[in-house]
């Protein structure tokens, strides 16, 4: 019974926390730029506004379905990520499953944007898939490395191992090279600067979101809120010893998110090839080095 309740309310909880992070990021950017900034719950107003649009132009059924694929894929990924109180789907081998299903939302978006036939959208999605190939290498390597180090493919078991001896057994302490590689990959994964190549408002008019208006964009906002929660929690579970309580989890999330936002606000945007080269060179080689340390 408890599990059923968790399955129903877990996406809602993740959405509520993620939406506050979206508000926090806007407020953070505004304060750094010495502006007053929007209200903390501004993304909630935005979603209500987008969802209550009177007209809604659809470009075809693939356009409609892609949005569901985006949201569904994200919620599916969320289900496999253990948090305090819920680890039902986190059994043997779930880390390998997460590595695969985390790609579903991007592929779903690619199908939908293809149908809108907007050149900016097509450029955006090709850049997004290219960045995916960039950050997925260090991220997958750090997944595999942590699995090898701890002799497990279960994220829940990994958290237990990391919590055995306090901070000394956290992934970022036992293997800092992998932790650093994953942290840089996380920056690209969240689409923050300097790896913001596929949104690039001034260059390709928000890329995949160019033709998305009204309810489509509203659904994308909801997905984005959950995605923030998913990505931060994956990093925390792998390298920061997971969390015992929800307060613990949220504290760690805020710390990691603030770190990422601080890098985001001071950097410009890389060019596509530069971003790709950077991802494979620096975090990629860091991750390979980390794995070599584990093997020998």
């Amino acid at each position: 019974m408890n599990t059923v309740l968790w399955i129903i309310f877990y996406p809602l909880i993740a959405f509520c926390i993620g939406i506050l992070y979206m508000g926090y990021s806007r407020k953070f950017n505004a304060r750094v730029e010495r502006r007053y900034g929007p209200s903390w719950i501004q993304p909630i107003y935005d979603i209500f506004k987008l969802m209550s649009k009177r007209t809604n132009i659809s470009h075809g059924w693939m356009h409609d379905i892609s949005i569901l694929m985006l949201l569904g894929g994200t919620i599916l990924t969320l289900m496999f990520i253990p948090v305090p109180g819920f680890s039902f789907f986190s059994q043997y081998g779930d880390m390998l499953v997460i590595m695969y299903i985390i790609l579903i939302p991007s592929l779903g978006m690619a199908l939908g944007v293809g149908e809108t036939a907007n050149p900016n959208g097509s450029i955006g999605i090709s850049r997004a898939l290219m960045m995916l190939a960039g950050y997925d290498v260090p991220f997958a390597l750090s997944f595999i490395g942590m699995g090898m180090l701890n002799h497990t493919t279960s994220m829940f078991r990994l958290i237990q191992i990391q919590q055995a001896h306090g901070i000394a057994s956290w992934g970022i302490v036992t293997n800092p090279l992998l932790g650093l590689a994953a942290l840089i990959a996380l920056q690209g994964m969240m689409g923050e600067k300097p790896f913001e190549v596929y949104i690039a408002p001034h260059e390709i008019a928000t890329g995949p979101m160019t033709e998305m208006g009204g309810k489509f964009l509203g659904m994308m906002f909801i997905t984005h809120a959950i995605t923030i929660f998913v990505e931060l929690t994956i990093f925390i579970n792998l390298f920061l010893g997971g969390a015992v309580t929800w307060i613990d989890l949220i504290l760690k999330q805020v710390v990691v998110f603030t770190l990422i936002l601080s890098v985001n606000i001071v950097f410009g945007r890389f060019r596509v090839d530069d971003a790709m080269r950077f991802m494979w060179k620096i975090p990629g080689s860091l991750a390979v080095l980390g794995i070599l340390f584990i093997i020998f």
């Binding site: 806007r26 505004a30 730029e33 010495r34 502006r35 007053y36 900034g37 929007p38 209200s39 501004q42 909630i44 107003y45 935005d46 209500f48 506004k49 209550s52 649009k53 009177r54 007209t55 809604n56 132009i57 900016n120 408002p201 001034h202 008019a205 928000t206 979101m209 160019t210 033709e211 998305m212 208006g213 009204g214 964009l217």
Partner: protein
Amino acid sequence: MKQKITQRSAWDRILAKLNKRSLWMLHYCTGCGAIELPPTMTARFDMERFGIVPMVTPRQADILLITGYLSIKTLKRIILSYEQMQAPKWVVGFGSCTINGGMYWNSYTTIKRLDMYLPVEIYIAGCMPRPEAIIQSFDTLINRIDKGVANSWKDYYTNYDFYRKNQEKVFGEIETYNDIKSDAEKFGIK
């Protein structure tokens, strides 16, 4: 107008309260007025505290801000952009050029009154208006949305023949990609 206010349901009133806090703006920088927008967006006047953010594509925008004179060539693009926006949407005419032609009154390439071609919600007078005036006009728009009287966008759907006639007077036969009348029927805009 008063009748329309009383006809709103409680849910509509709640939605208006939420919607007025989030307005995304597509600033179509046709003329010199665009120079007043950077200070409005950045630290000194900061319009993001009202939830007003510049957007880059017409699909996502709610406000079409037309800053300055409109040549006939630009007007065509503006009409196409406006028709791509999702309703409810509002046109804000910025500067005296959009009201009566301003200093381009004698020009043969510009149009003089914007509201002959698109339904304008608010005009900002001045050549050119300062950021305070822009903020004040957005404040007026927010109040009108809250009261439920910011319905100029419906005029384009219900009174399309008038606008189309004026547009054709300028351009001759024009090709637009949206069928406004069938859209109005499909989404039930009366």
